[in-house]
C-alpha cells in the first residue's frame, strides 16, 4: 500500500520533470501525438524502481495521503503561514532598526499536541522559517526547544500558546 503511494508520487514528480506533453510534436498536417509515450513508459519504470528502493519515502500512512480534505487544509495553511512569516519579518526589521535594539534572547521549552513525526517536523520548520523563533531540538517526540529573539514568557504553557498554537490548529488537520 505504501509502495503504491510512493509509486504514484514518483510518477507525478517524473512527469513534472520530463513534461511529456509537447504540442510541437504534432506535425502540421495533424498527424502524430503531442504525448511523448516513450518518456511515460520510462517514468513508470523509474517510479517502480523508486518504490522498490525507498520503502519509507514521503509517507508513513499511505491511506491518508491523498485525502482531499488534508490537501484543502494544506492550501489554506500556506497563505496563513505566509502572513505570519511576513508579519514576523517586519517585527524583526523593527527590532533591528530600533536604536535600543530591545531584544531579550533565550531558549524556551514548548509542547505540542501533534503526534506524527511529519507533523512535528512541519511545526518545527514553520517555527524556524518564521524570523525571530528558531527550533533548536526536539525531545521525546513532542517537546521542542525554541530559541526566541524576544522572550515574552518563560512559562511553558504561555510560550506554547504564543509560538505553537497558531500553527498547530492547521497542522493538526493536515497531519492527522
Amino acid at each position: 500500500m505504501r509502495r503504491v503511494a510512493i509509486f504514484i508520487v514518483s510518477f507525478i514528480v517524473w512527469c513534472a520533470l520530463v513534461w511529456p506533453y509537447n504540442s510541437a510534436n504534432i506535425a502540421p498536417d495533424g498527424t502524430g501525438t503531442a504525448w511523448d509515450l516513450q518518456s511515460i513508459v520510462l517514468g513508470l519504470f523509474v517510479a517502480f524502481l523508486t518504490a522498490l528502493l525507498f520503502k519509507e519515502a514521503f509517507t508513513t500512512q499511505p491511506k491518508n495521503m491523498f485525502s482531499p480534505l488534508r490537501i484543502l487544509w494544506l492550501l489554506l495553511y500556506l497563505p496563513v503561514f505566509l502572513y505570519y512569516c511576513i508579519r514576523a519579518n517586519l517585527q524583526v526589521v523593527y527590532l533591528v532598526l530600533h536604536p535600543d535594539m530591545p531584544i531579550k534572547p533565550g531558549i524556551v521549552k514548548v509542547k505540542t499536541k501533534l503526534k506524527t513525526e511529519s507533523g512535528v517536523t512541519a511545526l518545527a520548520n514553520s517555527i524556524t522559517l518564521t524570523p525571530g523563533t528558531l527550533t533548536v531540538d526536539v525531545v521525546n517526540g513532542n517537546e521542542l526547544y525554541v530559541h526566541w529573539l524576544v522572550v515574552e514568557s518563560a512559562d511553558e504553557d504561555k510560550a506554547t500558546e504564543i509560538i505553537v498554537s497558531r500553527f498547530e490548529f492547521f497542522l493538526e488537520k493536515i497531519f492527522v
Partner: protein, 157 residues
C-alpha cells in the same frame, strides 16, 4: 555514526526519493539535455549519502548492503566494458551498432543507440563507488594515543 534529530530524519525521508528521481532523470536524459552518467550518478549517490548523514551508517547499510554495493560496482564497470566490446559487431571497439540497426527518432528517449545504455552503466558505477567511498571514510575514526595517531573503522558488518 548515530542519527540526527527527528526533524532531519523526516526531511530526509521526504527528499531522498526526490533526489533519486532527479538523478535518474539526469542519467536517462543525458543524451538529450544537460547531465549524463557522471552528473546523474553522483546525484544518485547523494540520495544515499544524505541517508548516511541523517540515519547513521547502520540503517543505510541495511538499505544498500555493502556486499550488494560492491557487486553493483563491478556490474557497472563490466557493463560499460561489455557495451564497448559488443561494438565489435559493428566493426570496431565502441562502434554504435545498435544505432545502425534501430536508429530511433532524434530528440526522443529511445535513440542514439548505446549512448543511453553506457550512461546507465557509468551512473551505476559512479553512484555505488561514491556511496562506498563515503560510507567507508565516514565510518573512519581518528584517535590520538600519546604521540601516535590511530585510524580505525567504526562500522560493524
Amino acid at each position: 555514526m548515530t542519527g540526527m534529530t527527528v526533524i532531519v530524519k523526516t526531511i530526509t525521508r521526504w527528499t531522498a526519493a526526490l533526489i533519486f528521481l532527479y538523478g535518474a532523470y539526469l542519467v536517462l536524459y543525458g543524451h538529450l539535455s544537460v547531465g549524463g552518467g557522471f552528473a546523474g550518478g553522483i546525484i544518485l549517490a547523494c540520495s544515499y549519502v544524505i541517508m548516511i548523514l541523517a540515519y547513521g551508517g547502520k540503517e543505510t547499510i541495511h538499505a544498500l548492503p555493502k556486499a550488494v554495493a560492491a557487486r553493483l560496482d563491478s556490474i557497472g564497470a563490466l557493463a560499460f566494458l561489455i557495451l564497448a566490446s559488443l561494438g565489435m559487431f559493428g566493426g570496431f571497439f565502441f562502434s554504435n551498432w545498435i544505432r545502425d540497426i534501430w536508429p530511433g527518432q532524434q530528440f526522443r528517449v529511445f535513440s542514439a543507440g548505446i549512448i543511453p545504455l553506457a550512461n546507465i552503466a557509468i551512473a551505476l558505477k559512479v553512484c555505488v563507488s561514491l556511496f562506498l567511498i563515503f560510507f567507508i571514510l565516514a565510518s573512519l575514526r581518528m584517535t590520538r594515543k600519546g604521540d601516535k595517531i590511530e585510524f580505525r573503522s567504526e562500522e560493524v558488518d
